[in-house]
Symmetry: C2
Subunit: 178 residues, 2 copies
Amino acid sequence: MRSGTFKSHLRLRDGREQVTGFQMAGELLGLDGLSAGEHASSAVALEDAEISAIPYTYLSELAGTSTRLRDVISRLMSSEIVREHGLMMLLGTMNAEERLASFLLNLSQRMEARGYSASEFHLRMSRAEIGSYLGMRLETVSRTFSAFAQQRLVEVHKKHVRILDFEGMTRQFELLLQ
Amino acid sequence: MRSGTFKSHLRLRDGREQVTGFQMAGELLGLDGLSAGEHASSAVALEDAEISAIPYTYLSELAGTSTRLRDVISRLMSSEIVREHGLMMLLGTMNAEERLASFLLNLSQRMEARGYSASEFHLRMSRAEIGSYLGMRLETVSRTFSAFAQQRLVEVHKKHVRILDFEGMTRQFELLLQ
DNA sequence: CGGAAGATTGAGCGTAGTCAAACCGAGTGG
DNA sequence: CCACTCGGTTTGACTACGCTCAATCTTCCG
């Protein structure tokens, strides 16, 4: 991805949807497609976005000639696996507040890495999409935002978020992996 | 892995544990270690097991000479990503019965692929480990097993499981990805 | 036989889900 | 310019699923 924001998601036969990730500029999309020759998930742009499509065959050929590129590719896939491990931890063991807190802190980090403010940013996704990603209902997302605002951890106005107390967020919720 | 069963898991600072997968003969362990040069998760054998350790540098060199091997590797990593997507779907949207049903059906498939019975097998992991994997408490795992037994979907005696009604399991719980 | 670890079952509770109503902001048309 | 619609969000009341705590049972092993 060159710019913009995407969401990746998958769907059960009965219509239930799970957002598997939000991608931002510089990140890769579609790493799940290499195994079966068919992508297991779909991706949708949440705003105007620019991407570069890289054909797998081309990438594979190039990889034959460069050790460095091979390392980069396996590293990217591996870090996708690590990212999903973290998400499984989140979905498997955390309560609503911990989920939203770690979501916000993660977003904040990624914004900062791209030269934006770490403390104040605009959410590209709806409450429902956040909820699907975090394994909770949109109403619970909304309520949890309100709870954070009341504790003076954040200020929220619709999709605009300002994080007031990073310390408090990380301390209050023991979110760090061992 | 050559034989046996492993579990992979990670831990939060406060001790909470999440089992991220159970591995069987023929499967790969440690794909998460390539990104940071350090593994994010640990693996523990649940019974006597045999493994072959493959140094990354060696594998990487080999990959330089063989297109076929490169394909195999990226396919393995990609299918690990797909597997985790499915697990996120499970953790994010399914209730207790659906989780256990899809766990059992998945195990069954993998047993069959290894030449064992698809309908009758021995669980290598404890209720607590199943629970951690499925994002629920061990008591809930136990209760759900009992509920399945009452509905005549399975027979369970401690770690011995016999699936009586595959149809019922899949039909009752809309578990198929679109 | 006794102890320990794992599994089952029960009772009561709490967190997040459900359903519903109200609100907000942006865009559209009379 | 105001009324209206519409999608997304917030808030409330009630409910239910799964968690917690606890007791009992089973199996295994010293």
